[in-house]
Amino acid sequence: MKRNIFNIGILFCSFCLLVSCEKELMDYEGEDCLYFDVRRGSSWITPSRWAHYDFSEISFGSLIPDEVEMSFKVMASGMPKNYDRAFTVTVNPDSTTAIAGSDYDNFQEEGVIKAGESSTTLTIKVHRTERMNGDTLLLQLQLHENEHFKLKYDGFGDASRYYEQTLNPMFSYNKNAGVHNLFIYDVLARPATWSGNDATGLGLFGKFSAKKFRLMMELTGTTFEEYASSETMPRVRQQAIGQLMAKYLLEKAAAHDPVLDEDGTMMYFMALSTLDPAAAWAPFTTPEEYYK
């Protein structure tokens, strides 16, 4: 009997010990903060794993539309609240070179994190303008503190734990998540079907330059999108475009009004020598060398 009492006592003590392990969990007690939660990533990656980006960009050179609507997600840290929380976002005039009403539409400076939610999305409409042609404009969005939110994430550098942003030495310098930079430019990128060698300048189209590419599209009535795939830009079409360009350049050169590329040399296409070997010139030929 004594032994049984002893055993029951041991069990009871053990149970008491287990109870003593229970702790009361602490709720979140930090300050609620606002920050730009802009992410980008490959389509095959779940968006929640995309890398955070401290900047956005619009390259009108590779777009057909003249108007782009950009979205920016703004995230609130802390627990959702059962009431709407307003905040203010403004364009920072000190750092912005884009012009409101021209390069971009005025936008709503008041945002709201709705009751029960932790984020909202801001949008801004940007227009292609002459000012972006060959230049890069900056539009800087600035979140502001208020009674609901602080801005304490000023050491941007965290990734989404899975993928990190692709650094751009020109644009990736902002470490403050309360600020987001939108870079806008209209610079043509080299299309997938561009047939030419940048180093030697040889090939059907020769060295790529935005000036040459623009002139090609202007004279042939082709679009940037058509150069994206050999389905729409097969080799024979490239050859025909090269011939038209070469004929134009030869005529201009014969009229002593040579078309110069961005580097100051005479614009080159391989078909120059096909059309008129005697009047053709090699890649990177200067007008002085040609007319000498």
């Binding site: 050999s230 080799r235 024979v236 025909a240 475009i241 011939q243 038209l244 078909a271 096909t274 059309l275």
Partner: protein
């Protein structure tokens, strides 16, 4: 204490009992299994037109089976045609299955279940279905309402030749059939095409033999694959592609090199890893020129060739035969032949007075793939030129026709050159004539009592240069397509009908085009 020992004893026995091996005590008795007979191991059928009929005989391995207790299920397995799926196609003992399935290899499963014992037996059968459109002749022409239609003379191995009627949907309501051009098969399926040429335009047509009917490929239009950067006459209308398919195997002479003839111009390309596309036309005399000459709708190359190399075309603007420096590039251009002499004819027809011009051209099979050019002049005289197309064509002969012998030749609507002899066939109304331009002998070969709507040599389908095809039409008997053999004799002009090769159609046939391609 004793209880403890008893407990130990029981546990030990329990443990020991697990060591006893159960060797069983079975008495195996044979059962009456279903044995299926009257079912072939393999069936060969035509997709879309035939029905598979199977009447299995079910017997028991130990005597008669009570069929009232049996259930039947037929499944078809499409493995090898598309994603693997077993489809239930019947619950009766006998199968009647219309083969409305794409050509390919299938397996059929007959499952027999004894409802009383739940025992199942299975019989597997292989089913090969083939397309009726792999080999035969397209018949392209106008229906009585003027819209274009298409029949197919299906010539499937081990089957009777049948005319499959009205295979063309014609969703664009095209009218006025003029020509139908099949490129022939090739390893490069990017270069396979079927073009319908009509008064209302030209259309790329579906050609895949696995289909049950065909329509226009609306995603293919001239503006989407012809990209000139010099000014050309629009709208663009494809009227022919070269090379044509060759021989009964119907392979294209080139998987890559193509010439595309439009109503006004001719284009060249090489098709490799990209879709068929064309740049600037070749009918100009320098790469930098934008002056395009009018090209006649014929491309000359040796009809017996195993490849597609140098060709000759006719410049209608300058009235001369001409070649190309090359034809694979947008920078290609035409080049007139040098050292032109009258022996036996000039390339440049302006040397003649009056100037001669091309009426009709044809590439023959016999005599080293001789090409023929039928010429005329302002005086109404006709001439036949023979030559072998090459970098510089090898001229063989020129004969003036004796129109007092070749009755009504100037009224002819269709021509065909018999490449083994010096004979040109021509159609005038319902009459088929033959004229020997060397012996100056003519003969009316047959009066069909119906308008001849198509006439051509057929040296492909039977690999013989002596076959010819004639299509006729009248309102009551509609269209009839017949094959003949022309006698290969220098002293005779004679044709013999192929008794079995007579095909009736509702169409006023404008083109009979052979195909033999699994594409």
């Amino acid at each position: 204490m004793e209880k403890k020992y008893i407990l130990y004893g029981i546990m030990t026995l329990w443990g020991l009992s697990s060591c006893v091996e159960d060797e069983g005590n079975y008495e195996l008795l044979p059962i009456n299994e279903a044995v299926v007979s009257n079912v072939e191991d393999e069936y060969n059928k035509l997709s879309y037109v035939e029905t598979l009929s199977i009447s299995p005989v079910i017997e028991g391995s130990m005597g008669k089976l009570d069929e009232s207790k049996l259930e039947y299920d037929w499944f078809i397995c499409n493995n090898g045609v598309s994603d693997h799926v077993h489809t239930h196609i019947g619950s009766e003992k006998n199968l009647e299955y219309p083969l409305d399935i794409a050509p390919g290899t299938y397996y059929l499963y007959l499952q027999i279940k004894d409802k009383t014992t739940n025992l199942k037996w299975e019989k597997r059968v292989k089913l090969n279905t083939q397309s009726q459109f792999v080999r035969g002749f397209y018949l392209f022409g106008d229906k009585s309402d003027g819209t274009c239609g298409m029949d197919f003379v299906s010539m499937v191995k081990d089957r009777d030749t049948v005319v499959v009627k009205d295979i063309f949907t014609n969703s664009v309501n095209m009218k006025g059939a003029q020509d139908l051009v099949f490129s022939g098969g090739s390893w490069n399926n990017k270069s396979v095409s079927l073009w319908a040429v009509t008064e209302s335009g030209s259309y790329s047509i579906e050609y895949s033999s696995i289909q049950s009917s065909f329509d226009v490929r609306e995603e293919i239009s001239e503006d989407k694959f012809i990209f000139p950067t010099i000014e050309v006459t629009r709208p663009l209308k494809v009227i022919n592609t070269y090379p044509h398919a060759f021989g009964s195997s119907n392979q294209s002479l080139s998987a890559t090199n193509r010439l595309l003839l439009t109503e006004h111009d001719i284009y060249g390309t090489s098709i490799y890893d990209e879709p068929e596309a064309y740049g600037n036309p070749v009918n100009r005399y320098s790469a930098s020129s934008s002056d395009l000459y009018k090209v006649s709708p014929y491309v000359f190359y040796p009809g017996n060739s195993q490849g597609f190399y140098r060709v000759t075309v006719y410049d209608k603007t300058n009235e001369c035969f001409t070649g190309f420096n090359s034809y694979y590039y947008s920078s290609s251009y035409s080049r007139k032949y040098s050292n032109d002499t009258e022996t036996p004819f000039y390339f440049d027809q302006t040397h003649y007075s009056p100037v001669r011009t091309l009426v009709y051209g044809e590439n023959g099979y016999g005599n080293s793939g001789r090409s023929y050019a039928l010429m005329t002049d302002a005086n109404g005289a006709y001439y036949v030129y023979g030559f072998i197309a090459s970098t510089t064509p090898s001229k063989q002969f020129a004969y003036e026709m004796d129109l007092s012998v070749a009755i009504d030749f100037e009224k002819a609507t269709h021509y065909a050159f018999f490449s083994m002899q010096s004979v040109v066939l021509y159609a005038v109304g319902s009459q088929l004539w033959g004229y020997d331009y060397v012996r100056k002998d003519a003969k009316m070969l047959k009066d069909f009592q119906s308008e001849i709507t198509y006439l051509a040599m057929d040296y492909n389908s039977n690999d013989t240069p002596t076959d010819l095809i004639v299509a006729t039409y009248n309102a009551s008997e509609k269209g009839i397509v017949r094959k003949f053999t022309i006698t290969d004799d220098p002293n005779k002009i004679e044709i013999t009908p192929h008794e079995k090769d007579v095909w009736n159609t509702d169409l006023k046939v404008a083109k009979v085009e052979y195909r033999n391609s699994a594409f």
